[in-house]
Amino acid sequence: MNLGLLAREGPSLAQGALVVIKIAAGHLTLGLIGGITLAIMQVYGGRFASSISDIIQKIFRSIPVLVLLIMAYFGLTRLVEMPAIIVAIIALGVRSMAYQSQVFRGGFKAVDPGQMESALSIGMTKLESIRFIILPQVLRKVIGPWSNIFNMEVKDISLAYAIGVLEILKRGRYIIRYTHGNSLLIYLSVALFYFLLARAGNTILYRLEALLRVPGFEGRGDS
């Protein structure tokens, strides 16, 4: 195993790694905002809103992510000039929105209906109740399932390779091509990077969960 190679090509791979992190941050945020919105529509919306949001999430969870990426690439770049990384963030973000909406939907449904009742009884609107009372509780409860989504999606960022994004896998393949070999070493390094990234993310989520913990709240609150 030519470890010297890793040292030389390290910077190039590191740049690819940075691209992965950027895509992760971008698409997860997009998915978070969209997911919470879709979930609110599904749980609290009228018949129309909840059917539309249900259809949207079903569609984007059923189409393979590779197809979404390629469609987005051809569709979006036709409309406006944009770098592949943005296409990746949008396509992955929309898919993430669909998955996250289900996580949040479960979270909203798990909150005691009495919470909404008492929030309304002191004069809050539905949206205010969701914002100040329901959502803070949901966010705490949902970190577990959310981390499963996180794990899945981080690895799927490697698929951005297919639309030419210069993330770490693509860079790895360039290195393999112009150094004529060493493919196992490079691929394993790429795999290791994704592994560590997921690990790091999980640790952050774990800490976040501990930080947000409210005494006695994880289980039931009534005594």
């Binding site: 569609i59 059923s62 590779l66 592994f195």
Partner: protein, 223 residues
Amino acid sequence: MIEFLTFFWRILPDLLAGLQVTLELWGISVVFGFLGGLLLALARVYGAKPIYYLATGWIEFIRGTPLLVQLFIIYYGLADVGILFRPFVAASIALIINTSSYQAEYIRGAIQSIQSGQRVAAESIGMNRIQMIRFIILPQALRIVIPPCSNEWVVMLKFTSLAFLVTVQEMMTKGEIIANRTFEFLKVYGILAIIYLIVVLFFTYSLDFLERKLEVPGLGTRG
């Protein structure tokens, strides 16, 4: 609209030929993936220390790294050290390895939840370990395991699309050929998306239906 439909009709036969390969790939990975998962699960529940650690480490690695990278390792990486696979075989191996690690975790969970109650009962009527596993634990565990495993199967169906990236002649590849020939990229991938949508939803609902048919009263998700 009409020209879209005529286009759709024209390219459908080619795409369906690709779909056939997709489904073959999927079938292989579902069956062998489940068997592989079963073996890994048994290794983790009943295996001696070294086997346990080996299986656990393997599962951690596979679940923690992207499928695409695993696929490239098997197809390109191993070729570097002299082990060559045809694209279809490489894709099959990668999918089997990947899905077996995920299914192993579901199966392990199911076995352990049945194990706690049933082991003592089986021992009290004189069964040895193998008999207990074969006649008491597994039949029950296999029923519990169907919901999460069937989810995984549907996920696998979507991931067969990755075989495209190692030139397997499945549906995505057929689509790319057509797109390159007709320059109708967005249309072709849009049609691919629709076909995947139909197939995935079909299997999702069918598996749900099957699940409900196989439910044994009292043998729910509780151990």
